[in-house]
């Protein structure tokens, strides 16, 4: 099995897309970024549905696109399994005929059996004769996956595979998809605007912003060591802006940042000048206003509760420093501290959990 090698440049309206990526066989790279970052364009270029202005795309030894040589292999000869965002199932064909569409190598008489077998693998064998319009979002996604994998593709391309699902079916679909991606032996390139999804499904995450890959690595590394305020924000951290204050005698190994709008934050990261400071919500604790100082957490900032939003078994607390900050606490803590909008509190977190990136 051979990997994908992508290096493309293309103009897309006002956006200048310039992306280089290697996707080894059997691995899944999640291309993550906000909408309009050019993620889908990369997928379309790999599949051959869009011709980039310049660059190279190859799968193993086989060249699919070469701007210099003017080579562009037709999509039907690249054989990429493409999962479209809204699945793009053929509405005039039943589920099994959708799957059988790509089974041209299989003798006509065996196509139905083979298609149903594939549908069964995704737990939707019983829906073989149904038209897409009568299927739920989750069912459609499985039929579309079966269809994309039917012709034994050389690469798997997934465009926002979970975006069209409702919150309830998304969790289950995500788990199934991550299991599938482990099994698949071809290179897989997945596109998502959701960092959590990228972290769950990708062996590696590449963050795309403004047409360029700004950072790539495994999700934990990106989350712990964001290369920029954008990446920090994207990974779900709260991002504050401020300026590094020159060190005062006795302060070693710690950077002090004066936040825009008031307050000081300490970080173990080095930095200078205007910076973005990021901290993940689960690193931030909330204490009653006026509580005694102490403990190892060196960031203690007065804040006011702005909002409360339950997320699973936790509650996301929106705070104003006055810059916005998010803390994640248990429901029990919300009751014990009587948290409600307008309540003054102290936000507490460690200098070691504070990331500083140039701005």
């Amino acid at each position: 099995m051979s990997g994908l090698s992508i290096a493309v440049r293309t103009r897309l309206g006002a956006l200048d897309l310039d992306v280089a990526l290697e996707v080894p066989a059997g691995r899944c790279v999640a291309l993550a970024g906000p909408s309009g970052a050019g993620k889908t364009t990369v997928l379309r270029a790999v599949a051959g549905l869009l011709r980039p202005d310049a660059g190279r795309i190859s799968c193993g030894e086989e060249s699919w696109f070469d701007g210099e040589r003017g080579l562009s292999v037709a999509p039907e000869r690249r054989c990429c399994g493409y999962l479209f965002q809204d699945y793009a199932l053929f509405g005039h064909l039943s589920a099994w005929r959708n799957v059988a569409y790509g089974l041209r190598e299989v003798p006509r008489g065996e196509r139905r059996a083979r298609a149903v077998e594939l549908l069964e693998r995704f737990g939707v064998g019983a829906l073989a004769d149904r038209r897409p319009a009568t299927l739920s979002g989750g069912e459609r996604q499985r039929v579309a996956l079966a269809r994309a994998l039917a012709p034994r593709p050389r690469a798997l391309l997934l465009d926002e595979p979970l975006a069209a699902l409702d919150a309830r079916s998304r969790g289950r679909a995500a788990r199934e998809l991550s299991r599938l991606l482990v099994e698949v032996e071809v290179p897989a390139l997945l596109v998502t605007h959701d960092f959590g999804e990228a972290a769950l499904l990708g062996d590696e995450v590449a963050v795309l912003d403004g047409g360029r890959v700004v950072q790539r690595g495994d999700a934990a590394a990106l989350s712990a060591r964001p290369a920029s305020g954008f990446v920090a924000d994207f990974t779900g951290a709260a991002v504050l802006t401020g300026e590094v204050r020159p060190p005062v005698d006795g302060e070693t190994g710690v950077t002090v940042i004066a936040l825009d709008g008031g307050g000081e934050v300490r970080s173990t990261d080095a930095g200078e000048g205007p910076v973005a400071v990021s901290v993940h919500p689960w690193e931030v604790a909330v204490e009653p206003a006026g509580s005694a100082t102490g403990g190892s957490a060196s960031n203690r900032l007065a804040a006011e509760v702005v909002s409360l939003a339950p997320v699973g078994n936790r509650v996301r607390v929106g705070l104003a420093l006055p810059q916005p900050l998010t803390a994640e606490v248990t429901e029990e803590s919300v009751r014990r501290l009587a948290l409600a909008p307008g309540v003054p509190v102290v936000a507490v977190w460690k200098a070691a959990a504070t990331r500083v990136t140039p701005r």
Partner: protein, 265 residues
């Protein structure tokens, strides 16, 4: 309250408009059947010249529709799926026959394909004669009816989700296979609706046929021409033949609609 009254007033206006439209459009059609007894209808069908006209109409419109579908469907697909410079101009040129008076269409066809026309010499060299021949009727029908199919087919293809066409390509189907297996089946209801419109227009064609092909019984005299031929001398006969034409057209429209709803299921 005032809000509701205003709504009621507008609703009544809409219903009144529908009533007027329905009466005006249906009455003449109804009158044809009310004035024609079943006996007259059968007599008219028994008349050899009527049967010749009916046979000729069915034959020429069928051939014309085959030509229109074979050339018009790929043309409409191209216009619906490709963007190129001058596309709007091409679309407008293809729609032009829609607004052309039939007499002008006839003159135009004579000027282009008649013995003294631009291509007349070429056709003559090839041994093809159109004027005053059955083939000429087919040419006139194609000319006036094709734009109806083109328009409907183009919007039908434009309504097909472009992702479907792309999905087909990534699943290993080339452009031709994608056209045949995805685009045409997905657009079928719209294509059939276009075919019904074009066929209806062809069945009723009068002016261009008369000017380009003439009105010779058994050769170029289609049902509308036969009706006109009798109108002065035998009004009842003309009426009966009209009833036959309406019945055939309605049956055609209905069967195509049934086919389309079948394709949707």
């Amino acid at each position: 309250m005032a809000e509701r009254l205003r709504g009621a007033w507008f609703g009544a206006l809409l219903v009144a408009a529908l009533a007027v439209a329905l009466t005006f459009l249906v009455l003449p059609v109804l009158a044809i059947f009310l004035d024609t007894g079943p006996g007259q209808l059968l007599d008219s069908l028994g008349d050899p010249s009527s049967r010749d006209a009916l046979k000729l109409s069915l034959l020429t419109t069928t051939i014309a529709m085959a030509v229109v579908v074979a050339v018009g469907t790929p043309t409409a697909y191209l216009l619906a799926t490709r963007r190129f410079r001058g596309r709007e101009l091409v679309v407008t040129l293809l729609e032009l026959p829609l607004v052309l008076p039939p007499a002008v269409a006839g003159i135009g066809l004579l000027a282009a394909l008649g013995p003294q026309g631009i291509l007349g010499g070429l056709l003559d060299d090839l041994g093809i004669r159109l004027v005053l021949e059955t083939a000429g009727v087919v040419v006139a029908l194609v000319f006036v009816a094709a734009p109806f199919l083109l328009r409907a087919a183009q919007s039908a293809f434009e309504a097909v989700d472009p992702r479907w066409l792309e999905a087909s390509r990534t699943l290993g189907a080339g452009e031709a296979r994608t056209f045949a297996r995805v685009a045409v089946p997905a657009a079928l209801p719209g294509l059939l609706a276009g075919l019904a419109l074009a066929w209806g227009r062809a069945l009723g064609e009068f002016g261009a046929t008369l000017m380009f092909a003439g009105s010779f019984r058994g050769i170029t005299q289609t049902v509308p021409l036969a009706i006109y031929d009798r109108f002065a001398t035998d009004f009842d006969g003309a009426l009966a033949l009209s009833a036959v034409l309406v019945a055939v057209s309605a049956a055609l429209l209905l069967s195509v609609k049934l086919l389309a709803s079948d394709a949707l299921r």
